[in-house]
Amino acid sequence: MLEVFRRVGFLPRACGWELTLRCNLRCKHCGSLAGRARDDELSRDECLRVADELAEMRCERVTLTGGEPTLHPAWDELAERLVKGKVQVGLISNAWEWTREHAERAARAGLYSVGFSLDGLEREHDAFRAPGSFAHVLDAIRVTCEVGLDVAINTTIYRENCKQLLAVRGLLLDLGVHSWQLQIAIPTGAMAGHRELALPPEDLLWLVPQIAEFCRDGGGGLRVVASDHIGYFGKPEAHLRQPEVTMPFWLGCWAGLHALGIESGGNVKGCLSLPSALHGEAGYIEGNVRQSSLREIWNRSSGFVYTRGFRTSDLKGFCRVCRYGDLCRGGCTWKRGSQGDPEAGDTYCFYYQAARQGRYDLLEDEPTVEEKAYFRAGVPHR
């Protein structure tokens, strides 16, 4: 619901900052196509200026990511600068080279949380990332907990690990992990070359309720968070968001409304997940911090038009007739654009799949006549 954001104001509350695209792993599902550093990555001084700008703009939280952000020589200096500017700073690492020294530097810099990626149990995780990577993550969790930092785990769900979630949750509880973010692998970036590993969208009908149940009950001490490309609507919705807030339902993509992303070369997007030049798509780049200040880029009235200028007539496929279309705005922009068929709308949508498969028992409202007619007409999409 764009009007909610319009009334509140377009505020850069959450920022994902790719410090470098350089990475020491080549994961099969990497959405950033990380590996080599970009040719024109920001210098330390340029990064410090961006950090100051984020603080001046009252950005509430910055997540440092990559690539592997700890390969940036000034990652902790930047974090400390942001923290001094009253920005809350988290960091996502693949843990491959994470040591106690990294954990201590993170603690000294004032990070509120360090996140590691763990994509299943050992065999599945290592198959997705690198042999031995699983053990590195477990070691990293231990040393980071020992220095007193909260540890968050991100798990990307794909065919091979989707039935391991309960076991992974048990492992995380044993290790004292603080929070767990679940996200679904979408065939984009490197994953576009491994489409066979992606979950078919029909599986959302069992997976989304399971994730919602994890969010409802983390098993005692583990906070579980569903990534914002998981949903939407139907009975699981309230637990995927926060049941305790005034509006515990999906309000549409945050990109350019309350979120922004900064690439290591200085390009600014509404969300770091959105494609860029490496993906053959430059349309989401709003500017570069070398040419304009971050504030100017954010405040351009013509910027972020795909969310700020959204109209229901922009919706495609089933989203065009969906009862929630104006609320949901077609779901996560990145996910919708990654499904191959721009006319299909968002088929990785719980409501879409439940309506299509006649599982009205999973929905709060029976699909409308128009929605049913859409499928009766012979939908070409899954």
Partner: protein
């Protein structure tokens, strides 16, 4: 949550926010969230960007001049006439008389707010105090006579009965951890 309740909650939010934040279009440029000085006289810097206005809001919050400011979020985008579709619903005509400090009308920020909320959170992120909910929806009431003035008092954020699926989880809030509910990894697939 059924679609009807979702839309009702949004509607309540928009009405409340409109009363607190939106300024009549007659002020000019669809600028929202100005202080009363701007309303009456217009300010040369009325179109400044988000950050500077938010900074001023916070800086002013401790001054004795609170009655002139204190709106929690200032809508700052200078609408581009060519691209800005404008508000989706008409703005109330009596907004000026309703505008007042957030401390008077806005929901209080409870102690359980996630720690990343350094700035005041937008109203929809504020946990709603959950009143006792009946197990089933009440029978429909006859239509009430419209009030002569918009309700200016504080609203109860969650007056509608929630379906059983939405009853709060059995896990204690403290067990859910203390960090923000926002995505930890802003980048999916990785």
């Amino acid at each position: 949550m059924k679609e009807k309740e979702i839309r009702e909650r949004i509607e309540r939010f928009l009405k409340r926010t409109a009363r607190n934040v939106v300024v009549p279009a007659s002020v000019g440029l669809s600028l929202a969230g100005c202080d009363t000085r701007a309303l009456s006289g217009g300010r040369a810097d009325a179109g400044r960007d988000v950050a500077s206005q938010r900074a001023e809001t916070n800086d002013t919050a401790n001054s004795p001049d609170l009655s002139y400011m204190a709106l929690p979020y200032l809508i700052v985008m200078m609408p581009d006439a060519a691209t800005d579709p404008g508000p989706s619903e008409p703005e109330p005509s009596d907004v000026e008389s309703e505008a007042r400090p957030m401390t008077e009308a806005g929901p209080e920020i409870p102690a359980v707010m996630p720690p990343y909320m350094i700035a005041p959170p937008p109203p929809y992120m504020v946990p709603a105090p959950a009143p006792p909910l009946p197990p089933s929806p009440p029978p429909p009431l006859p239509p009430a006579a419209p009030p002569s003035l918009p309700d200016a008092g504080p609203e109860i954020p969650m007056p509608s009965p929630a379906p059983p699926y939405l009853l709060l989880p059995s896990v204690s809030p403290s067990a859910k951890g203390k960090t923000a509910p926002m995505p930890m990894d802003p980048k999916k697939n990785g």
